[in-house]
Symmetry: C2
Subunit: 332 residues, 2 copies
Protein backbone atom coordinates (compact mmCIF):
# COMPACT_ATOMS: atom_id res chain seq x y z
CA UNK A 1 0.00 0.00 0.00
CA UNK A 2 1.44 3.35 -0.99
CA UNK A 3 0.53 6.92 0.01
CA UNK A 4 1.49 9.64 -2.45
CA UNK A 5 2.02 13.33 -1.87
CA UNK A 6 0.20 15.22 -4.63
CA UNK A 7 0.63 18.98 -4.15
CA UNK A 8 -0.52 19.47 -0.57
CA UNK A 9 -2.72 16.38 -0.41
CA UNK A 10 -1.63 12.87 0.44
CA UNK A 11 -3.56 10.29 -1.57
CA UNK A 12 -4.14 6.57 -1.23
CA UNK A 13 -6.27 3.98 -3.00
CA UNK A 14 -9.31 1.97 -1.93
CA UNK A 15 -7.34 -0.27 0.39
CA UNK A 16 -5.78 2.73 2.15
CA UNK A 17 -9.25 4.22 2.48
CA UNK A 18 -10.55 1.11 4.21
CA UNK A 19 -7.59 0.96 6.53
CA UNK A 20 -7.30 4.61 7.47
CA UNK A 21 -10.66 6.29 6.85
CA UNK A 22 -13.21 3.54 7.42
CA UNK A 23 -11.67 2.02 10.50
CA UNK A 24 -9.61 4.86 11.99
CA UNK A 25 -11.14 8.16 10.94
CA UNK A 26 -8.23 9.64 9.00
CA UNK A 27 -8.88 11.87 5.98
CA UNK A 28 -11.83 12.01 3.65
CA UNK A 29 -13.10 10.04 0.69
CA UNK A 30 -12.69 11.34 -2.86
CA UNK A 31 -14.19 9.11 -5.58
CA UNK A 32 -13.88 6.11 -3.31
CA UNK A 33 -10.20 6.78 -2.61
CA UNK A 34 -8.45 8.31 0.40
CA UNK A 35 -7.35 11.93 0.66
CA UNK A 36 -5.32 13.02 3.69
CA UNK A 37 -4.14 16.41 4.89
CA UNK A 38 -0.38 16.49 5.58
CA UNK A 39 -1.04 16.64 9.35
CA UNK A 40 -2.98 13.39 9.13
CA UNK A 41 -0.28 11.74 7.05
CA UNK A 42 2.29 12.96 9.59
CA UNK A 43 0.42 11.20 12.36
CA UNK A 44 0.25 7.96 10.39
CA UNK A 45 4.00 8.22 9.77
CA UNK A 46 4.65 9.06 13.44
CA UNK A 47 2.80 5.93 14.50
CA UNK A 48 4.81 3.84 12.07
CA UNK A 49 1.71 2.50 10.29
CA UNK A 50 3.41 3.56 7.08
CA UNK A 51 7.18 4.08 6.89
CA UNK A 52 7.23 6.82 4.27
CA UNK A 53 5.12 8.53 1.62
CA UNK A 54 6.19 9.10 -1.98
CA UNK A 55 6.45 12.63 -3.33
CA UNK A 56 4.77 12.48 -6.76
CA UNK A 57 6.87 15.42 -8.02
CA UNK A 58 10.36 14.39 -7.02
CA UNK A 59 9.88 10.69 -6.49
CA UNK A 60 11.54 11.09 -3.04
CA UNK A 61 10.34 9.08 -0.09
CA UNK A 62 9.43 11.22 2.95
CA UNK A 63 9.40 9.85 6.49
CA UNK A 64 7.98 11.55 9.64
CA UNK A 65 11.12 13.58 10.19
CA UNK A 66 11.18 14.77 6.57
CA UNK A 67 7.54 15.78 6.64
CA UNK A 68 7.90 17.61 9.96
CA UNK A 69 10.90 19.56 8.66
CA UNK A 70 9.02 20.52 5.48
CA UNK A 71 6.73 23.50 4.97
CA UNK A 72 3.76 21.21 4.35
CA UNK A 73 2.80 20.95 7.97
CA UNK A 74 3.25 23.02 11.13
CA UNK A 75 4.68 21.38 14.22
CA UNK A 76 1.94 23.09 16.26
CA UNK A 77 -0.77 21.34 14.23
CA UNK A 78 1.04 18.01 14.47
CA UNK A 79 1.35 18.27 18.26
CA UNK A 80 -2.31 19.20 18.76
CA UNK A 81 -3.54 16.57 16.32
CA UNK A 82 -1.51 13.90 18.12
CA UNK A 83 -2.65 15.03 21.55
CA UNK A 84 -6.33 14.85 20.62
CA UNK A 85 -5.83 11.44 19.01
CA UNK A 86 -4.05 10.30 22.19
CA UNK A 87 -7.10 11.44 24.13
CA UNK A 88 -9.30 9.15 22.05
CA UNK A 89 -10.79 11.58 19.55
CA UNK A 90 -11.09 11.47 15.79
CA UNK A 91 -10.69 14.87 14.20
CA UNK A 92 -10.48 16.48 10.76
CA UNK A 93 -8.66 19.54 9.49
CA UNK A 94 -11.12 22.17 8.26
CA UNK A 95 -11.18 25.33 6.15
CA UNK A 96 -13.62 27.02 8.55
CA UNK A 97 -12.36 30.52 9.38
CA UNK A 98 -10.43 30.64 12.65
CA UNK A 99 -10.73 26.88 13.17
CA UNK A 100 -8.07 24.27 12.46
CA UNK A 101 -9.76 21.05 13.51
CA UNK A 102 -13.27 19.70 13.89
CA UNK A 103 -13.15 17.26 16.78
CA UNK A 104 -15.89 14.62 16.90
CA UNK A 105 -17.38 13.26 20.11
CA UNK A 106 -15.58 10.13 21.32
CA UNK A 107 -16.95 7.17 19.37
CA UNK A 108 -17.86 9.39 16.40
CA UNK A 109 -15.80 10.24 13.36
CA UNK A 110 -15.75 12.14 10.09
CA UNK A 111 -18.62 10.00 8.79
CA UNK A 112 -20.90 11.52 11.47
CA UNK A 113 -22.40 14.99 11.58
CA UNK A 114 -21.82 15.94 15.20
CA UNK A 115 -18.90 18.08 16.33
CA UNK A 116 -17.75 18.16 19.96
CA UNK A 117 -15.17 20.94 19.64
CA UNK A 118 -13.99 23.41 17.06
CA UNK A 119 -10.28 23.74 17.85
CA UNK A 120 -7.78 26.41 16.87
CA UNK A 121 -4.16 25.32 17.37
CA UNK A 122 -1.67 28.08 18.24
CA UNK A 123 1.80 28.46 19.71
CA UNK A 124 2.13 30.33 23.00
CA UNK A 125 3.76 33.26 21.24
CA UNK A 126 0.89 33.89 18.83
CA UNK A 127 -1.32 36.79 19.84
CA UNK A 128 -5.04 36.09 19.62
CA UNK A 129 -7.53 38.83 18.71
CA UNK A 130 -10.24 38.86 21.38
CA UNK A 131 -12.92 39.35 18.73
CA UNK A 132 -12.00 36.07 17.05
CA UNK A 133 -12.97 34.12 20.18
CA UNK A 134 -16.28 32.89 21.47
CA UNK A 135 -17.13 29.66 19.71
CA UNK A 136 -13.79 28.00 19.50
CA UNK A 137 -11.49 26.00 21.74
CA UNK A 138 -7.92 27.29 21.77
CA UNK A 139 -5.27 24.60 21.92
CA UNK A 140 -2.15 26.44 23.06
CA UNK A 141 1.17 24.67 22.59
CA UNK A 142 3.67 26.12 25.04
CA UNK A 143 7.38 26.51 24.35
CA UNK A 144 8.05 23.11 25.89
CA UNK A 145 5.34 21.49 23.76
CA UNK A 146 2.74 20.95 26.47
CA UNK A 147 -0.82 21.73 25.41
CA UNK A 148 -3.51 23.65 27.29
CA UNK A 149 -7.10 23.83 26.08
CA UNK A 150 -9.13 26.96 26.64
CA UNK A 151 -12.84 27.00 25.91
CA UNK A 152 -14.25 30.35 24.82
CA UNK A 153 -17.90 31.36 24.98
CA UNK A 154 -20.15 34.40 24.72
CA UNK A 155 -22.09 34.23 27.98
CA UNK A 156 -25.23 36.07 29.05
CA UNK A 157 -24.54 38.17 32.12
CA UNK A 158 -27.36 38.94 34.51
CA UNK A 159 -28.42 39.02 38.15
CA UNK A 160 -31.20 39.98 40.52
CA UNK A 161 -29.75 42.81 42.61
CA UNK A 162 -32.22 45.66 42.48
CA UNK A 163 -31.78 48.71 44.66
CA UNK A 164 -33.19 52.19 44.43
CA UNK A 165 -30.99 54.41 46.58
CA UNK A 166 -32.19 57.84 47.75
CA UNK A 167 -31.17 60.89 45.73
CA UNK A 168 -29.08 63.99 46.42
CA UNK A 169 -26.63 62.55 48.93
CA UNK A 170 -23.65 64.87 49.56
CA UNK A 171 -20.02 63.70 49.69
CA UNK A 172 -16.40 64.92 49.63
CA UNK A 173 -14.16 64.16 46.68
CA UNK A 174 -10.69 63.29 48.00
CA UNK A 175 -7.72 62.45 45.79
CA UNK A 176 -8.80 59.00 44.66
CA UNK A 177 -12.16 58.33 46.34
CA UNK A 178 -15.29 59.95 47.71
CA UNK A 179 -16.33 60.04 51.35
CA UNK A 180 -20.02 60.16 52.24
CA UNK A 181 -20.20 61.30 55.83
CA UNK A 182 -23.83 60.52 56.49
CA UNK A 183 -24.65 57.64 54.13
CA UNK A 184 -28.18 56.27 53.67
CA UNK A 185 -27.95 52.66 54.86
CA UNK A 186 -29.45 51.21 51.64
CA UNK A 187 -26.42 52.42 49.70
CA UNK A 188 -24.03 49.98 51.32
CA UNK A 189 -26.30 47.39 52.88
CA UNK A 190 -28.64 46.80 49.94
CA UNK A 191 -26.68 48.08 46.95
CA UNK A 192 -23.23 47.07 48.19
CA UNK A 193 -21.90 50.47 47.16
CA UNK A 194 -18.67 51.50 48.83
CA UNK A 195 -16.86 50.39 51.95
CA UNK A 196 -17.48 51.86 55.42
CA UNK A 197 -14.41 53.28 57.14
CA UNK A 198 -15.63 52.74 60.66
CA UNK A 199 -17.63 50.02 62.34
CA UNK A 200 -20.70 52.24 62.61
CA UNK A 201 -20.96 52.37 58.79
CA UNK A 202 -19.73 55.95 58.42
CA UNK A 203 -18.11 57.55 56.61
CA UNK A 204 -18.75 55.44 53.52
CA UNK A 205 -15.83 55.33 51.09
CA UNK A 206 -16.86 55.17 47.43
CA UNK A 207 -14.44 54.43 44.62
CA UNK A 208 -14.27 56.98 41.80
CA UNK A 209 -16.16 54.50 39.59
CA UNK A 210 -18.95 54.01 42.09
CA UNK A 211 -19.14 57.73 42.70
CA UNK A 212 -19.23 58.59 38.96
CA UNK A 213 -21.97 56.01 38.43
CA UNK A 214 -24.03 57.25 41.38
CA UNK A 215 -23.56 60.90 40.42
CA UNK A 216 -24.80 60.07 36.90
CA UNK A 217 -27.94 58.55 38.45
CA UNK A 218 -28.56 61.58 40.64
CA UNK A 219 -27.77 59.72 43.86
CA UNK A 220 -24.73 61.85 44.70
CA UNK A 221 -24.76 65.60 44.57
CA UNK A 222 -21.13 65.81 43.43
CA UNK A 223 -20.90 66.95 39.82
CA UNK A 224 -20.60 63.94 37.51
CA UNK A 225 -18.22 65.77 35.19
CA UNK A 226 -15.79 66.51 38.02
CA UNK A 227 -15.68 62.81 38.86
CA UNK A 228 -15.17 61.79 35.23
CA UNK A 229 -12.31 64.25 34.91
CA UNK A 230 -10.66 62.98 38.08
CA UNK A 231 -11.07 59.39 36.90
CA UNK A 232 -9.47 60.17 33.55
CA UNK A 233 -6.63 61.97 35.32
CA UNK A 234 -5.74 58.87 37.31
CA UNK A 235 -6.57 56.17 34.74
CA UNK A 236 -6.85 57.75 31.29
CA UNK A 237 -9.17 56.09 28.74
CA UNK A 238 -9.32 53.05 30.88
CA UNK A 239 -11.57 54.88 33.32
CA UNK A 240 -14.25 55.39 30.67
CA UNK A 241 -14.08 51.78 29.58
CA UNK A 242 -14.34 50.55 33.14
CA UNK A 243 -17.23 52.90 33.88
CA UNK A 244 -19.08 51.65 30.78
CA UNK A 245 -18.69 48.08 32.02
CA UNK A 246 -19.62 49.08 35.58
CA UNK A 247 -22.85 50.63 34.23
CA UNK A 248 -23.60 47.64 32.02
CA UNK A 249 -23.23 45.29 34.98
CA UNK A 250 -25.43 47.41 37.27
CA UNK A 251 -27.99 47.64 34.44
CA UNK A 252 -28.00 43.84 34.39
CA UNK A 253 -28.61 43.81 38.16
CA UNK A 254 -25.14 42.50 38.91
CA UNK A 255 -22.94 44.17 41.55
CA UNK A 256 -19.37 44.89 40.42
CA UNK A 257 -16.78 45.33 43.17
CA UNK A 258 -13.09 45.84 42.67
CA UNK A 259 -11.18 42.78 41.46
CA UNK A 260 -7.85 44.24 42.55
CA UNK A 261 -6.89 41.35 44.80
CA UNK A 262 -7.34 39.03 41.85
CA UNK A 263 -5.54 41.32 39.42
CA UNK A 264 -8.83 41.94 37.59
CA UNK A 265 -11.07 44.96 37.17
CA UNK A 266 -14.10 43.54 38.93
CA UNK A 267 -15.39 40.62 40.88
CA UNK A 268 -19.17 40.40 40.65
CA UNK A 269 -22.12 39.36 42.80
CA UNK A 270 -25.30 38.49 40.89
CA UNK A 271 -27.77 38.31 43.77
CA UNK A 272 -27.21 40.69 46.65
CA UNK A 273 -30.07 41.13 49.08
CA UNK A 274 -28.09 42.37 52.07
CA UNK A 275 -24.34 42.70 52.55
CA UNK A 276 -24.56 40.58 55.70
CA UNK A 277 -25.59 37.63 53.55
CA UNK A 278 -23.16 38.00 50.68
CA UNK A 279 -22.43 34.84 48.79
CA UNK A 280 -19.28 33.99 46.91
CA UNK A 281 -18.57 36.33 44.00
CA UNK A 282 -19.09 34.45 40.74
CA UNK A 283 -17.14 36.24 38.04
CA UNK A 284 -13.82 37.96 37.58
CA UNK A 285 -14.14 40.62 34.91
CA UNK A 286 -11.28 42.15 32.98
CA UNK A 287 -12.12 45.21 30.89
CA UNK A 288 -10.41 45.45 27.50
CA UNK A 289 -10.74 47.53 24.35
CA UNK A 290 -12.63 45.52 21.71
CA UNK A 291 -9.59 45.39 19.44
CA UNK A 292 -7.42 43.78 22.13
CA UNK A 293 -5.24 40.82 21.19
CA UNK A 294 -4.42 38.38 23.98
CA UNK A 295 -1.01 36.98 24.61
CA UNK A 296 -1.76 33.33 25.42
CA UNK A 297 0.45 33.64 28.49
CA UNK A 298 -1.65 36.46 29.96
CA UNK A 299 -4.76 34.48 29.15
CA UNK A 300 -3.34 31.44 30.93
CA UNK A 301 -2.58 33.57 34.00
CA UNK A 302 -6.10 35.02 34.21
CA UNK A 303 -7.86 31.73 33.61
CA UNK A 304 -5.66 29.84 36.04
CA UNK A 305 -6.17 32.38 38.79
CA UNK A 306 -9.95 32.51 38.30
CA UNK A 307 -10.11 28.74 38.39
CA UNK A 308 -8.05 28.68 41.60
CA UNK A 309 -10.50 30.98 43.37
CA UNK A 310 -13.56 29.21 41.93
CA UNK A 311 -14.69 32.06 39.74
CA UNK A 312 -15.33 32.34 36.03
CA UNK A 313 -13.07 34.59 33.98
CA UNK A 314 -15.03 37.00 31.80
CA UNK A 315 -13.60 39.63 29.50
CA UNK A 316 -15.68 42.72 28.75
CA UNK A 317 -14.72 43.94 25.29
CA UNK A 318 -15.58 47.59 25.00
CA UNK A 319 -16.22 49.06 21.57
CA UNK A 320 -19.47 50.68 20.39
CA UNK A 321 -21.17 48.01 22.47
CA UNK A 322 -19.90 45.74 25.21
CA UNK A 323 -19.33 42.13 24.31
CA UNK A 324 -18.80 39.46 26.96
CA UNK A 325 -16.30 36.69 26.46
CA UNK A 326 -15.70 33.91 28.94
CA UNK A 327 -12.62 31.71 28.89
CA UNK A 328 -12.29 28.53 30.91
CA UNK A 329 -9.84 25.67 31.06
CA UNK A 330 -11.01 22.54 29.31
CA UNK A 331 -9.84 18.96 29.58
CA UNK A 332 -11.09 17.34 26.39
Amino acid sequence: MELTLDGSTVRGGRQARERFYDSRGYGRVVDGDLALAPVEAAHILYRGDIEAIRDADSGDRLDFRDLLSSDLVSEIDVLVYKDLRDRGFYLSPTDEAGVDFLVYPRGNGPWDDTVAYRVRAIGERTDVPARSLGEVVLAVVDEESAITYLDTERPDIGGSTRVDPPRDVPGDLLEDRVLVWDPPTALYERGFYGQPLGEDGAPLQLSLLEAAFLAGRGVLTIDERTLLERGREVEGDRFDRRLAVYRALRDRNVVPKTGYKFGADFRTYADVEHVDELGHSELLVRVLPADHAFSPRDLALDVRLAHGVRKRMVFALVGDDIEWLSVTRLTP
Copy 2:
Protein backbone atom coordinates in the same frame (compact mmCIF):
# COMPACT_ATOMS: atom_id res chain seq x y z
CA MET B 1 -5.90 70.02 76.27
CA GLU B 2 -5.28 71.61 72.90
CA LEU B 3 -3.41 70.39 69.81
CA THR B 4 -2.15 73.09 67.45
CA LEU B 5 -1.26 72.86 63.79
CA ASP B 6 2.05 74.64 63.30
CA GLY B 7 3.11 74.48 59.64
CA SER B 8 2.95 70.77 58.93
CA THR B 9 3.42 69.62 62.53
CA VAL B 10 0.74 69.25 65.14
CA ARG B 11 1.98 70.20 68.59
CA GLY B 12 0.79 69.56 72.11
CA GLY B 13 2.10 70.23 75.61
CA ARG B 14 3.37 67.92 78.32
CA GLN B 15 -0.06 66.59 79.20
CA ALA B 16 -0.73 65.70 75.54
CA ARG B 17 2.66 63.99 75.43
CA GLU B 18 1.79 61.83 78.40
CA ARG B 19 -1.60 60.93 76.99
CA PHE B 20 -0.64 60.28 73.37
CA TYR B 21 3.07 59.49 73.24
CA ASP B 22 3.83 57.86 76.57
CA SER B 23 0.78 55.67 76.77
CA ARG B 24 -0.29 55.21 73.14
CA GLY B 25 2.74 55.61 70.91
CA TYR B 26 1.68 58.63 68.88
CA GLY B 27 4.26 61.16 67.67
CA ARG B 28 7.62 62.05 69.11
CA VAL B 29 8.96 64.17 71.93
CA VAL B 30 10.47 67.60 71.29
CA ASP B 31 11.76 69.39 74.39
CA GLY B 32 9.43 67.36 76.57
CA ASP B 33 6.39 68.29 74.46
CA LEU B 34 4.47 66.32 71.82
CA ALA B 35 5.00 66.63 68.06
CA LEU B 36 2.64 64.75 65.74
CA ALA B 37 2.65 64.24 62.00
CA PRO B 38 -0.68 65.19 60.40
CA VAL B 39 -1.48 61.49 59.76
CA GLU B 40 -1.15 60.80 63.50
CA ALA B 41 -3.31 63.78 64.37
CA ALA B 42 -5.86 62.57 61.82
CA HIS B 43 -6.07 59.21 63.59
CA ILE B 44 -6.55 60.87 66.96
CA LEU B 45 -9.33 63.00 65.46
CA TYR B 46 -10.88 59.98 63.73
CA ARG B 47 -11.06 58.16 67.05
CA GLY B 48 -12.70 61.16 68.69
CA ASP B 49 -10.04 61.44 71.41
CA ILE B 50 -9.84 65.09 70.44
CA GLU B 51 -12.65 66.85 68.57
CA ALA B 52 -10.58 69.31 66.60
CA ILE B 53 -7.14 70.90 66.34
CA ARG B 54 -6.43 74.60 66.11
CA ASP B 55 -4.69 76.02 63.06
CA ALA B 56 -2.11 78.44 64.49
CA ASP B 57 -2.15 80.52 61.29
CA SER B 58 -5.84 81.04 60.73
CA GLY B 59 -7.18 80.26 64.16
CA ASP B 60 -9.65 77.82 62.52
CA ARG B 61 -10.59 74.58 64.21
CA LEU B 62 -10.06 71.51 62.02
CA ASP B 63 -11.91 68.26 62.58
CA PHE B 64 -11.20 64.86 60.98
CA ARG B 65 -13.15 65.70 57.85
CA ASP B 66 -11.36 69.05 57.43
CA LEU B 67 -7.94 67.51 57.87
CA LEU B 68 -8.70 64.67 55.43
CA SER B 69 -9.89 67.14 52.80
CA SER B 70 -6.76 69.28 53.25
CA ASP B 71 -3.42 68.85 51.49
CA LEU B 72 -1.70 68.13 54.80
CA VAL B 73 -2.34 64.42 54.70
CA SER B 74 -3.00 61.82 52.04
CA GLU B 75 -6.02 59.57 52.39
CA ILE B 76 -3.77 56.62 51.48
CA ASP B 77 -1.51 57.29 54.47
CA VAL B 78 -4.49 57.73 56.77
CA LEU B 79 -6.02 54.42 55.67
CA VAL B 80 -2.80 52.48 56.09
CA TYR B 81 -1.99 54.12 59.42
CA LYS B 82 -5.46 53.27 60.72
CA ASP B 83 -5.28 49.70 59.46
CA LEU B 84 -1.97 49.00 61.18
CA ARG B 85 -3.22 50.58 64.40
CA ASP B 86 -6.35 48.42 64.15
CA ARG B 87 -4.07 45.41 63.86
CA GLY B 88 -2.44 46.31 67.17
CA PHE B 89 0.74 48.03 66.01
CA TYR B 90 2.33 51.32 66.96
CA LEU B 91 4.01 53.02 64.04
CA SER B 92 5.78 56.26 63.17
CA PRO B 93 6.01 58.27 59.97
CA THR B 94 9.61 58.42 58.72
CA ASP B 95 11.76 60.38 56.31
CA GLU B 96 13.63 57.23 55.20
CA ALA B 97 13.74 57.09 51.39
CA GLY B 98 11.00 54.91 49.93
CA VAL B 99 9.46 54.23 53.35
CA ASP B 100 6.42 55.92 54.88
CA PHE B 101 6.09 54.18 58.21
CA LEU B 102 8.29 52.33 60.66
CA VAL B 103 6.11 49.69 62.28
CA TYR B 104 7.22 48.39 65.67
CA PRO B 105 6.72 44.81 66.83
CA ARG B 106 3.47 44.38 68.78
CA GLY B 107 4.10 45.52 72.35
CA ASN B 108 6.86 47.89 71.25
CA GLY B 109 6.63 51.53 70.32
CA PRO B 110 8.58 54.58 69.20
CA TRP B 111 10.52 54.52 72.47
CA ASP B 112 12.07 51.17 71.42
CA ASP B 113 14.72 50.54 68.81
CA THR B 114 13.31 47.51 67.01
CA VAL B 115 11.38 47.74 63.77
CA ALA B 116 9.12 44.91 62.55
CA TYR B 117 8.27 46.35 59.13
CA ARG B 118 9.28 49.25 56.96
CA VAL B 119 6.05 50.09 55.13
CA ARG B 120 5.45 52.08 51.96
CA ALA B 121 1.80 53.11 51.50
CA ILE B 122 0.58 53.44 47.91
CA GLY B 123 -2.67 53.55 45.97
CA GLU B 124 -3.38 50.75 43.51
CA ARG B 125 -2.86 53.12 40.61
CA THR B 126 0.69 54.11 41.58
CA ASP B 127 3.37 52.35 39.56
CA VAL B 128 6.24 50.97 41.63
CA PRO B 129 9.79 50.83 40.24
CA ALA B 130 11.07 47.28 40.69
CA ARG B 131 14.48 48.58 41.76
CA SER B 132 12.96 50.40 44.72
CA LEU B 133 11.78 47.12 46.25
CA GLY B 134 13.54 44.52 48.34
CA GLU B 135 13.54 45.69 51.93
CA VAL B 136 10.16 47.23 52.24
CA VAL B 137 6.57 46.11 52.76
CA LEU B 138 4.13 47.60 50.27
CA ALA B 139 0.75 48.51 51.68
CA VAL B 140 -1.47 48.82 48.63
CA VAL B 141 -4.80 50.58 49.08
CA ASP B 142 -7.18 49.44 46.36
CA GLU B 143 -9.83 51.65 44.78
CA GLU B 144 -12.39 50.45 47.32
CA SER B 145 -10.01 51.20 50.20
CA ALA B 146 -9.09 47.63 51.13
CA ILE B 147 -5.42 47.13 51.94
CA THR B 148 -3.09 44.34 50.84
CA TYR B 149 0.41 43.94 52.25
CA LEU B 150 3.21 42.66 50.05
CA ASP B 151 6.56 41.77 51.54
CA THR B 152 9.54 42.25 49.24
CA GLU B 153 12.93 40.60 49.64
CA ARG B 154 16.17 39.99 47.77
CA PRO B 155 16.52 36.21 48.01
CA ASP B 156 19.49 33.97 47.29
CA ILE B 157 18.66 31.53 44.53
CA GLY B 158 20.44 28.18 44.40
CA GLY B 159 20.00 24.44 44.00
CA SER B 160 21.82 21.15 43.69
CA THR B 161 21.03 19.93 40.18
CA ARG B 162 24.33 19.07 38.53
CA VAL B 163 24.40 17.35 35.17
CA ASP B 164 27.12 17.04 32.58
CA PRO B 165 25.42 16.09 29.33
CA PRO B 166 27.41 14.59 26.42
CA ARG B 167 28.60 16.91 23.66
CA ASP B 168 27.90 17.25 19.94
CA VAL B 169 24.33 15.97 19.84
CA PRO B 170 22.60 16.71 16.50
CA GLY B 171 19.06 18.07 16.19
CA ASP B 172 16.58 19.67 13.76
CA LEU B 173 15.49 23.27 14.21
CA LEU B 174 11.76 23.52 13.45
CA GLU B 175 9.78 26.74 13.54
CA ASP B 176 9.65 27.23 17.30
CA ARG B 177 11.53 24.27 18.85
CA VAL B 178 14.30 21.77 18.25
CA LEU B 179 13.85 18.02 17.84
CA VAL B 180 16.63 15.68 18.92
CA TRP B 181 15.92 12.38 17.23
CA ASP B 182 18.37 10.24 19.17
CA PRO B 183 18.70 11.97 22.56
CA PRO B 184 21.25 10.86 25.20
CA THR B 185 19.11 9.78 28.17
CA ALA B 186 20.95 12.05 30.64
CA LEU B 187 19.65 15.10 28.80
CA TYR B 188 16.04 14.57 29.83
CA GLU B 189 16.27 12.15 32.72
CA ARG B 190 19.06 13.83 34.71
CA GLY B 191 19.08 17.38 33.39
CA PHE B 192 15.33 17.69 32.79
CA TYR B 193 16.02 19.27 29.42
CA GLY B 194 13.16 19.10 26.94
CA GLN B 195 10.04 17.01 26.67
CA PRO B 196 9.88 13.64 24.88
CA LEU B 197 7.30 13.42 22.12
CA GLY B 198 6.78 9.67 22.36
CA GLU B 199 6.67 7.26 25.26
CA ASP B 200 10.05 5.79 24.33
CA GLY B 201 11.71 9.14 25.06
CA ALA B 202 12.36 10.07 21.41
CA PRO B 203 12.34 12.44 19.73
CA LEU B 204 13.14 14.93 22.48
CA GLN B 205 11.58 18.36 21.98
CA LEU B 206 13.72 21.25 23.22
CA SER B 207 12.44 24.79 23.56
CA LEU B 208 14.41 27.49 21.75
CA LEU B 209 15.75 28.64 25.11
CA GLU B 210 16.95 25.19 26.11
CA ALA B 211 18.44 24.65 22.66
CA ALA B 212 20.24 28.01 22.66
CA PHE B 213 21.64 27.30 26.12
CA LEU B 214 22.77 23.79 25.18
CA ALA B 215 24.26 24.94 21.87
CA GLY B 216 26.24 27.60 23.77
CA ARG B 217 27.65 24.86 26.02
CA GLY B 218 28.62 22.66 23.06
CA VAL B 219 25.98 20.03 23.83
CA LEU B 220 24.04 20.58 20.61
CA THR B 221 25.69 20.78 17.21
CA ILE B 222 23.18 23.35 15.92
CA ASP B 223 24.81 26.75 15.51
CA GLU B 224 24.15 28.89 18.58
CA ARG B 225 23.81 32.04 16.51
CA THR B 226 21.05 30.52 14.37
CA LEU B 227 19.10 29.70 17.52
CA LEU B 228 19.61 33.18 18.98
CA GLU B 229 18.38 34.73 15.75
CA ARG B 230 15.31 32.51 15.68
CA GLY B 231 14.60 33.34 19.32
CA ARG B 232 14.84 37.06 18.67
CA GLU B 233 12.56 36.69 15.64
CA VAL B 234 9.79 35.20 17.73
CA GLU B 235 10.31 37.12 20.99
CA GLY B 236 12.47 40.18 20.35
CA ASP B 237 14.66 41.47 23.21
CA ARG B 238 12.71 39.39 25.61
CA PHE B 239 14.44 36.28 24.31
CA ASP B 240 17.87 37.56 25.36
CA ARG B 241 16.61 38.54 28.78
CA ARG B 242 15.00 35.16 29.29
CA LEU B 243 18.10 33.35 28.09
CA ALA B 244 20.27 35.35 30.52
CA VAL B 245 17.99 34.29 33.37
CA TYR B 246 17.86 30.70 32.12
CA ARG B 247 21.68 30.62 32.16
CA ALA B 248 21.87 32.24 35.60
CA LEU B 249 19.48 29.63 37.02
CA ARG B 250 21.36 26.70 35.46
CA ASP B 251 24.62 28.21 36.76
CA ARG B 252 23.05 28.16 40.21
CA ASN B 253 22.15 24.47 39.74
CA VAL B 254 18.46 25.21 39.48
CA VAL B 255 16.34 23.77 36.63
CA PRO B 256 14.10 26.30 34.87
CA LYS B 257 11.12 24.90 32.97
CA THR B 258 8.45 26.92 31.25
CA GLY B 259 6.05 28.75 33.55
CA TYR B 260 3.50 29.17 30.77
CA LYS B 261 0.65 27.48 32.61
CA PHE B 262 1.15 29.91 35.47
CA GLY B 263 1.51 32.93 33.20
CA ALA B 264 5.19 33.22 34.21
CA ASP B 265 8.46 32.74 32.38
CA PHE B 266 9.72 29.84 34.44
CA ARG B 267 8.85 27.46 37.19
CA THR B 268 11.97 26.06 38.85
CA TYR B 269 13.20 22.86 40.45
CA ALA B 270 16.17 23.23 42.79
CA ASP B 271 17.08 19.60 43.30
CA VAL B 272 16.54 17.27 40.37
CA GLU B 273 18.21 13.87 40.55
CA HIS B 274 15.98 12.01 38.11
CA VAL B 275 12.82 13.14 36.32
CA ASP B 276 10.95 10.15 37.71
CA GLU B 277 11.37 11.60 41.21
CA LEU B 278 10.56 15.22 40.52
CA GLY B 279 9.34 17.17 43.50
CA HIS B 280 7.07 20.18 43.48
CA SER B 281 8.54 23.18 41.66
CA GLU B 282 9.39 25.87 44.19
CA LEU B 283 9.52 29.18 42.38
CA LEU B 284 7.66 31.05 39.68
CA VAL B 285 10.03 33.40 37.90
CA ARG B 286 9.01 36.38 35.82
CA VAL B 287 11.77 38.01 33.77
CA LEU B 288 11.70 41.81 33.57
CA PRO B 289 14.01 44.58 32.44
CA ALA B 290 15.72 46.14 35.47
CA ASP B 291 13.98 49.47 34.90
CA HIS B 292 10.51 47.89 35.02
CA ALA B 293 7.81 49.58 37.09
CA PHE B 294 5.07 47.33 38.47
CA SER B 295 1.43 48.15 38.34
CA PRO B 296 0.23 47.03 41.78
CA ARG B 297 -2.62 45.16 40.08
CA ASP B 298 -0.23 43.02 38.02
CA LEU B 299 1.81 42.41 41.14
CA ALA B 300 -1.30 41.31 43.01
CA LEU B 301 -2.16 38.90 40.19
CA ASP B 302 1.27 37.27 40.15
CA VAL B 303 1.57 36.99 43.90
CA ARG B 304 -1.94 35.67 44.34
CA LEU B 305 -1.46 33.02 41.67
CA ALA B 306 1.90 31.89 43.06
CA HIS B 307 0.42 31.64 46.54
CA GLY B 308 -2.50 29.58 45.19
CA VAL B 309 -0.15 27.01 43.67
CA ARG B 310 2.18 26.99 46.69
CA LYS B 311 5.12 28.57 44.94
CA ARG B 312 7.15 31.67 45.65
CA MET B 313 6.96 34.53 43.16
CA VAL B 314 10.41 35.76 42.13
CA PHE B 315 11.18 38.50 39.66
CA ALA B 316 14.45 38.39 37.77
CA LEU B 317 15.47 41.97 37.00
CA VAL B 318 17.83 41.97 34.05
CA GLY B 319 20.24 44.86 33.63
CA ASP B 320 24.02 44.59 33.58
CA ASP B 321 23.56 41.91 36.23
CA ILE B 322 20.55 39.91 37.29
CA GLU B 323 18.89 40.88 40.53
CA TRP B 324 16.36 38.63 42.24
CA LEU B 325 13.31 40.06 43.92
CA SER B 326 10.72 37.99 45.73
CA VAL B 327 7.27 39.27 46.61
CA THR B 328 4.90 37.51 48.97
CA ARG B 329 1.62 38.29 50.65
CA LEU B 330 1.93 39.34 54.25
CA THR B 331 -0.64 39.50 57.00
CA PRO B 332 0.88 41.85 59.56
